[in-house]
Symmetry: C2
Subunit: 121 residues, 2 copies
DNA sequence: CTGTATCCGAACCGATACTG
DNA sequence: CAGTATCGGTTCGGATACAG
């Protein structure tokens, strides 16, 4: 068997999967959008725009990408004028682990940095 | 108690921590660098450049940022000419969970997308 | 209200030559 | 070998006006 080659393959697969995940949830607004919708439920386009302070052009693009990845659902309501409600999908809950782990690491890292700096003194 | 305000605060904290984490491990090269060093151990500057196909300017910048965040260690060897060895720190192992979770989600998501598309048919 | 079109600046990343 | 300097291209995100 050629373990060297297998390892090379496996390593590339990991890199590819990591990259895939980051293109889905990375960038400036994807996770903020998801967390808001996870916590507060359905929101309209302009509500999201105001809550996050995100301009309509970007918001539209981000929502479209999240919808393609089945993470949020878009529902047009028969109001006057027409409104649209966005919400997380059931599938989106598969991201909760990721969000918790990233959030946790971020908080601990801030402490770790402080520790690191005081140790230097 | 003002739960609305507390929730608002808490939500902002989460967004901040998520952002912090992504600025540390996000971007095109941070995780690839870490995974290579995690798997294969110490590597020299030019080795990393060749393995990942990353240009020296970017590599230098990424390594510096990872070092600031205590994720990799830089060791200058007394060789002729001088060489430098990069390796992951003990602290870097705190990222293993994140890497596994992101990798896992990426793989499953690829399957989920296929499923989603066939269901539409 | 929900987006789209246009324009713009900033950030990110790459190639290459070069220095110590 | 390890990195820096310079330049240039591409992507990203923001402001604003406007259309449906």
């Amino acid at each position: 068997m050629n373990n060297t080659s297998d390892d090379f393959e496996e390593c590339n697969n990991i890199r590819l999967s990591l990259k895939d995940t980051l293109t889905v949830i990375g960038g400036k607004w994807k996770l903020p959008l998801i967390t808001v919708l996870l916590r507060d439920g359905k929101k309209q386009f302009n509500q999201l725009s105001r809550i996050l302070g995100i301009s309509p052009r970007i918001l539209s693009k981000e929502l479209a990408e999240l919808e393609i990845n089945m993470l949020i659902a878009r529902e047009v309501k028969n109001t006057k004028p027409i409104t649209v409600e966005y919400s997380v999908t059931k599938y989106c809950e598969s991201l909760v682990d990721i969000i918790l782990v990233l959030n946790d690491w971020g908080k601990k890292h801030k402490e770790a940095l402080k520790q690191g700096f005081t140790e230097i003194k």
